[in-house]
């Protein structure tokens, strides 16, 4: 399989790169000085694309790779892949579901605790020697707070299970009601936001869910409400979120994703009621390896004409 060209869209994981290099002819797209020339040079050998949350396979890229057979995403989210175009051209698509569910759910709860109990701020307080001058402020209790989840898929359910262990009542919004869960359903995100203390975005990014967190939802969540985003930056109308936080119309936010990563709105840096993370929802050694193994496994299965492990298209 060493002659098979695999185009990696951006630097994503050293272990994945290393394993791809052992098996295929790995082409690192981000190192190309002139992208169109690079594609023109290699287009006839590239039969696979490995993408992620930052760089996937849009229509333009797909059109410029006539020999493309499979797009294997190093993510569960598919928002960077033109799925319709792939279907049209018979290109297979795989992602990395399940292996990363725990990590994203763990981080969601970690963000809730960090925002409500001000973990990062109080760590800063101790490190800057301010504790000698006075005790830190009281913070907000987490146990028993109502958690509202947007999207009750694998990740949403995992967040719910963890929050329940803290005696948090669980409310949710989903495309369809799930009566088999004992959680309280709301037919709209605004109503959900008005009826919870902490709102978590745990759904996939599609045309329908872009800016699902808008001014109306933020107002409904309110002065004491907290927003947690472990989905995609574009789930949130970011300028609206920033002004709500700066103007104290929203109680706080824990954000792992942003609209224009790695750019983060600077107005957030001075706030003590936000926690900011550099898209590390799946950022553990164990999970990245499991994700990489799935990417490799899917590619090998495809080129050996065996059933794909985690096909989407």
């Amino acid at each position: 399989m060493k002659s098979i060209g695999v185009l990696m869209t951006c630097h994503m994981d050293s272990y994945l790169e290393q394993e791809l290099e052992k098996r295929f002819n790995l082409l690192r797209f981000w190192t190309a000085t002139e992208k169109s020339t690079f594609l023109a040079t290699h287009k006839n050998s590239i039969r696979a694309v490995v993408g992620n949350a930052f760089g996937g396979a849009d229509a333009e890229l797909i059109e410029s790779l006539p020999k493309l057979e499979i797009v294997a995403s190093f993510s569960v989210g598919l928002d960077k892949i033109d799925l319709a175009k792939c279907k049209e051209k018979g290109i297979r698509v795989t992602n990395t579901p399940d292996v990363l569910t725990d990590d994203v759910a763990d981080l969601s709860i970690g963000l809730m605790l960090a925002v409500l109990r001000k973990l990062c701020e109080s760590d800063r307080y101790v490190r800057s020697d301010k504790w000698k001058k006075g005790d830190y402020t009281l913070t907000t209790k987490f146990t028993g707070k109502t958690v509202g989840i947007i999207g009750l898929g694998r990740i949403g359910m995992a967040v719910a299970k963890r929050a329940e262990a803290f005696s948090c009542p669980i409310h949710y919004y989903s495309r369809t009601e799930k009566p088999e869960t004992k959680y309280k359903y709301y037919p709209s995100v605004v109503e959900l936001a008005a009826n919870c203390d902490i709102l978590v975005v745990a759904c996939s990014l599609t045309e329908e869910t872009r800016h699902i967190i808008d001014r109306e939802v933020i107002d409904a969540l309110g002065r004491k409400g907290v927003l947690i985003n472990v989905g995609r930056g574009r789930h949130v109308d970011e300028p609206e979120l920033v002004s709500a936080l700066v103007e104290c119309r929203l109680g706080g936010a824990g954000l792992d994703v942003f609209e224009h990563e790695p750019e983060v709105p600077e107005e957030l840096f001075g706030l003590d009621n936000v926690v900011l993370l550099p898209h590390v929802g799946t950022g553990t050694v164990e999970t990245r390896q499991a994700m990489a193994d799935l990417v490799i496994g899917n590619l090998e299965a495809h080129f050996q004409k065996k059933p794909l492990l985690t096909p989407v298209v």
Partner: protein
Amino acid sequence: MGITTQDQFLTAHAHSVQALLLSGTHPVTSDTLRLLPSPGLIVTTSAGLNHIDLPECQRRGISIAGAGNLYSEDLADLAVGLLIDVLRKISVADRYIRRQLWPSKGEFPLGFKLRGKQVGIVGLGSIGLEVAKRLEAFGCNILYNSRRKKPSIQYPYYSNILELAKNSDVLIICCELTEQTRHMINKEVLLALGKEGVIINVGHSAVIDEQEMMGCLMRGEIGGAGLDVFEKEPDVPKQLFALDNVVLSPHRAAHSQETILALRDLVVGNFEAFFSNKPLLTPVIMNQLF
């Protein structure tokens, strides 16, 4: 008017005092108790009882009202929060972004998963049980050490703290400070926990030999720590400030606004109960202690 000493103040007012209200910061010794001719009640707001001369109180028939389980949820929440922070580098990452390193330095170091971690809880009282309940939901395996094995509890019990440490990836200190637990987490226990091990302390600082822990952290002999308590608060050893594998909290694990309001109600409730000859809301039962 000069500054009266505590003893002078007590001597002047002793005959009219019937109850003491304490936090955990000042010890109440038999000397203090002797100055007060008829205290019937001590109400303490602290989570622990090591600042009170318990045998003397029992001898003199002094009732003690403690905080009961008031702090257990907040303490458990913070223990879990500190653990997730250490394993997933939340505070480090937040600093990384605020220092604008994400655009220039790019990839942030990976953390470690919670599922499958062996979590050794030191002291399975109400705090330890709340911690266990929460971490089970993350897929952690719970082990414990306590004064006595608890027959109704399914988690594996280790009577020896060293054995617990050898079998744990994480140790969470949830126990009282007593003669037996003082510096119980010593160098041997820390080395048994090992270079990927994490220690979380929301209990009493003196349960851990702080000097030894510092040494282990500096030499990479343990993986990381989440600490709410320190031996000489608010003086925190400066060597910790340079470490990215520790998360530091200024002894606020039990202090959410909601809990402090509940504490006020509890203290008032206990005084009211005592002075109207009703049972205390949260009596400390002496014979359960020693």
